[in-house]
């Protein structure tokens, strides 16, 4: 094409044209075309496997997460966690580049492990992978063995590793892969016939709320149940500021994790982010294995406490009975602010099941439930939960749809509010409804990762956040004649 002919004038959309399209994207017709998409994904509400692996890798005492692959990924995972928790999120990487693509990443791994170990003196270096080594098929088993054989790393340094390709599953699957690998490494040779630590192993799953993790621990402490939380991110991602930076501010003690194979019971509170781990634990661990839903709301917390009471033959402490009664008191006192309100919810599978069950308990009406990457099994479980209550009627569960699909739903079939992570704020703004930030990541508010959503206190926290926001809106949008002292 001759250059002159190719030169077009800079174009400008007319205001009318812009207005036309602006209205068009809110129509039923647009929604149909939008849902007809099969290749393009717009505003997905999930991240990739290695992010989940890093959450686990950082949640063990003295563990230095190690990304085998591209350094860009490591920096993205670190900045994502730092923006959510407003905390440091250390992780290192062996920075594979073009030559790695050709010759594989073994040399990078050698140098990376050597330097990481020397500089940061970790007790454990959990390794996980990015796209590149997965596509070119790096053999981590061999690489790590060679690294130790060739003296890049002392033999005794714990180097669990997991293949976490971002082109299948999401961050919750990376969490699962890394956790299984770390436990395999730590419990190696620790299983002693007949031995029982008398302890409960708690696996919280991929949960960006340190308040939730603390609530699980508090419940166990109140019930006098000794526990080990496997992948405990609560201190790592909520350490204090006292003038000294600590690279390893907490996490599950390695000895405790090692011993966990001889635990009295193992409890996973997120089914979908511990699938392979629990299958492995089923085979390898002593004691009972229990998978329960995240205890959002009163009924699910009751179930958890009854199970713990049964497992450890402990009475339900007065303090928890009191907290239960106070939660029921708060919910009965404030049900008028949520009853019948329609909600859209977006997030990870285990969070969605918990939030929806809390809404049903309050007489609220989940209406659009969306998980941008999930299995039919999950959809079946969600639909069953919805059918268990009259307030679930009319709700639709969407899997493998994204937040641009959600936007179409919100503007064509309006609801009162949407519950999800920060990414949902654009759809909430277009639909002119409030966003209740329960999920991961939350990078536009402060401290919402500190107070629990689970347990009896968590039920009060969720109820308070939602009810008070609706009342804020009422006060801020009503005409003078409807502005009132009492709400």
């Amino acid at each position: 094409m001759s250059e002159a002919a190719a030169i077009k004038k800079v174009t400008e959309h007319s205001p009318e044209e812009i207005e036309k399209v602006k209205n068009w994207i809110n129509t039923e017709e647009y929604k149909e075309r939008n849902f007809a998409r099969s290749a393009l994904v717009v505003n997905p509400a999930h991240a990739c496997q290695p992010l989940g692996a890093q959450m686990v890798a950082t949640s063990f005492e003295g563990a230095l997460p190690f990304v085998h692959g591209s350094q860009g990924c490591a920096s993205y995972f670190r900045s994502t966690f730092s923006r959510h928790y407003r905390e440091p999120a250390a992780a290192t990487c062996d920075a594979m580049t073009e030559d790695g693509a050709v010759f594989g990443g073994q040399n990078n791994l050698f140098e990376g492990l050597e330097n990481a170990y020397a500089l940061y003196k970790p007790k454990m270096i959990p390794v996980y992978t990015t796209c590149m080594p997965e596509v070119i098929g790096d053999d981590l088993t061999a690489f790590i063995k060679n690294a130790k054989l060739q003296g890049h790393l002392p033999e005794n340094v714990l180097t669990p590793y997991a293949n976490t390709p971002s082109f299948n599953g999401t961050h919750i699957h990376g969490y699962d892969a890394m956790l299984k690998s770390i436990l395999e490494t730590l419990t190696e040779g620790q299983s002693i016939e007949g031995k029982c630590t008398g302890k409960l192993n708690i696996i919280p799953g991929f949960d960006g709320n340190v308040g939730n993790l603390r609530e699980y621990k508090r419940i166990c402490e109140l019930m006098g149940i000794p526990y080990t939380m496997l992948a405990d991110s609560s201190d790592v991602f909520d350490s204090g500021c006292d003038g000294e930076y600590r690279l390893y501010p907490g996490g599950t003690r390695l000895e405790d994790a090692a011993e966990s194979v001889n635990g009295k019971a193992t409890l996973a509170l997120q089914k979908y982010s511990t699938v392979t781990t629990m299958k492995w634990i089923e085979a390898e661990y002593t004691g009972e294995k229990v998978i329960m839903p995240m205890p959002f709301g009163v009924k699910k917390t009751d179930e958890l406490i009854l199970k713990l009471s049964e497992l450890f033959d402990k009475p339900v402490p007065e303090q928890l009975k009191k907290e239960r009664a106070q939660a029921v008191d708060a919910m009965t006192d404030a049900q008028q602010y949520l009853h019948g309100r329609k909600f859209a919810v977006a997030g990870d599978p285990d969070y969605l099941l918990g939030i929806v069950s809390f809404l049903l308990e309050m007489g609220a009406r989940p209406w659009h439930v969306l998980c941008s990457r999930a299995t039919k099994k999950f959809k079946k479980e969600m639909d069953a939960l919805l059918e268990s209550s009259p307030f679930g009627a009319g709700c639709t569960t969407y899997i493998n749809k994204d937040l641009w699909h959600m936007r179409s739903l919100l503007v064509t079939d309006p609801v009162d509010g949407i519950i999800g992570d920060t990414h949902a704020k654009w759809a909430a703004r277009d639909a002119k409804i409030p966003l209740f930030r329960i999920g991961f990541p939350i990078i536009d508010r402060v401290n919402l990762h500190r107070s629990p959503w689970v347990g009896y206190t968590g039920a009060i926290n969720m109820l308070t956040m939602i009810a008070n926001k609706f009342l804020d809106i009422k006060d801020e949008t009503c005409e003078d004649q409807w502005f009132e002292m009492m709400r």
Binding site: E3, I7, K8, V10, T11, E12, E17, I18, V21, R37, S38, L40, P44, H46, A47, C48, L51, F66, S70, Q71, G72, S75, Y76, F77, S79, T80, S82, R83, P88, A90, T92, C93, D94, A95, T97, G100, A101, N108, L113, E114, N115, A116, Y117, L119, C131, M132, V135, S166, F167, N168, S239, C241, D242, E244, Y245, R373, R407, H423, W426, D430
Partner: protein
């Protein structure tokens, strides 16, 4: 450039001793690789002794990102009227969605697209290739976002490893859709940092965009283009008005709040004004060679640099513009003096250490100095030699220069030099705040800004004073120990 006053306690010897001590704690091979990248500043040395633009030393915990981040995050993301497709698995698109604060005008989802478009590669796309899916996806995007002025295909790592041919797909779809479809092979594993991503993106602009459009208005004597301002926190909206106030016509901005067609018509301007030299010098050189457009580096951080830049810009034009320059400088002087008068007393004599991307470690020094703050250490994630050469004269003798500094090194340096402020990124912010050291994000302006131009300096001064003089730091030391 007036040479900087020496800083108390900071000498070539003390700095070199610090560097040596730090390297001593590293494995030998790593120390050998890192040594050339650390140095005590010699303001007059040319070229600057500090080496740069080399591969990350594995395992040391570098702050660098990747080529995709340099392409999508820095160059393409800010262009508001294009659909930018993160081509590959879901992660890269999600982590970079809205996390660079390149603000943009327009109706979101209609005329501007501050969104995450991705092909969300699954295993089968790795095995069977993603080209067919890419074609389908571009059609779907053009249908659902009809007012887009073009689409970019930004390759993630797998694309370059599985033999996909996004260039062919781009060409085919540009014809089929009658829309700009720009391929950019910015796989993350390419090059050593974000920097190659800038370069590859500049090349894509060169090969697929520039020259394809012409401005609607007739060319004018004062037509300029603003190169390398990405509108972080509204920086372009604080810089452009000043240039217009001295009589220039800013025809296009690369690429903050950018419009792709105007970028494609930039070959018609009279002068390219470049703020971030590192990310966009490539296209300045191309436009100079191909269309004879001169280009001038300028600096809008802080009154001293603003005034110098305006006068330098004035020199490229006639007396009318020169007169306007003096008028504008006089007009804003009182306001700038008022800012200095309010904040300098509380900041004079303080020190700061900077570690940012490829420009700000040197470019913001003027603004800090306007407030009486001396820079005791500076370094870049992904600068090259020409950046370090421009940095040396801006810093006092013996101050510390560190290229691609690792977490390990930066902690040691900060612990030793005890600056009153560290200016770096989100991955460093909470490390140093835990140590009780005030911090400002000098990538994202800590969600504040703008920091460019006269309006920006007011906000910058307020924020630096807030960070350093916040009473909360007085609480860090616990009375219980």
């Amino acid at each position: 450039m007036a040479e900087r006053k020496p800083i108390k306690g900071v000498t070539i010897e003390s700095t070199e001793k610090l560097i040596a001590e730090t390297l001593a704690e590293m494995p030998e091979k790593a120390a050998k690789k890192r040594a050339p990248h650390l140095g005590a500043n010699e303001p007059t040395a040319s070229p600057c002794a500090v080496k740069s633009n080399k591969k990350v030393v594995p395992g040391v915990m570098s702050q660098r990102g990747c080529a995709y981040a340099g392409a999508k995050g820095v160059v393409w993301g800010p262009i508001r009227d294009m659909v930018h497709v993160s081509h590959g698995p879901v992660g890269c698109g999600v982590y970079s969605w809205g996390t660079r604060r390149n603000l943009m005008q327009g109706v979101p989802g209609v005329t501007s697209f501050p969104m995450d478009f991705t092909s969300d590669f699954q295993e089968r796309d790795i095995v069977y290739g993603g080209d067919i899916k890419l074609e389908k996806l571009l059609k779907e995007a053009d249908e659902l976002f009809p007012l887009n002025k073009g689409m970019s295909i930004l390759s993630e790592c797998p694309v370059g490893l599985i033999g996909d041919d996004i260039n062919a797909v781009a060409k085919k779809m540009e014809n089929e859709l009658g829309k700009l479809v720009v391929p950019c092979n910015c796989e993350g594993f390419r090059g050593v940092s974000q920097s190659l991503g800038h370069h590859i993106s500049n090349d894509s602009i060169r090969d697929h965009i520039i020259g394809k459009f012409q401005f609607r208005e007739e060319p004018g004597p004062y037509d300029v283009a603003l190169i390398g301002d990405y509108n972080i926190g509204g920086d372009v909206w604080a810089a452009k008005p000043i240039l217009e106030e001295i009589g220039l016509t800013v025809k296009s901005v690369w690429t903050g709040d950018g419009e792709v067609e105007k970028i494609g018509a930039t070959h018609a301007v009279k002068l390219n004004l470049i703020h971030c030299y590192r990310s966009m010098n490539y296209m300045c050189k191309v436009m100079e060679e191909k269309w004879g457009i001169p280009w001038l580096e300028y600096n809008f951080f802080g009154p001293t640099k603003i005034e110098a830049s305006l006068r330098a810009i004035g020199e490229c034009f006639d007396d009318t513009i020169k007169a306007n320059v003096e008028q504008v400088i006089e007009k804003y002087k009182p306001a700038m003096q008022a800012v200095v008068a309010e904040y300098k007393p509380r900041l004079d004599g303080k020190t700061a250490m900077l570690f940012v991307g490829g420009l700000r470690p040197r470019h913001t020094i003027g603004a800090y100095e306007d407030l009486g703050i001396q820079i005791t250490g500076a370094g870049y994630e992904f600068a090259h030699q020409d950046d370090y050469d421009r940095t040396a004269p801006e810093m006092a003798k013996g101050t510390l220069i560190y290229d691609d500094v690792s977490e390990f090194e930066l902690e040691k340096f900060v612990e030793e030099l005890k600056p009153d402020l560290v200016g770096s990124g989100i991955k460093e912010k909470y490390v140093f705040q835990k140590a009780g050291i005030p911090f400002r994000q000098m990538h994202s302006w800590d969600y504040s800004g703008p920091y460019h131009g006269y309006e920006g300096f007011k906000i910058f001064a307020r924020d630096i004073d807030m960070a350093i003089n916040s009473p909360t730091w007085g609480l860090v030391k616990s009375p219980f120990e």
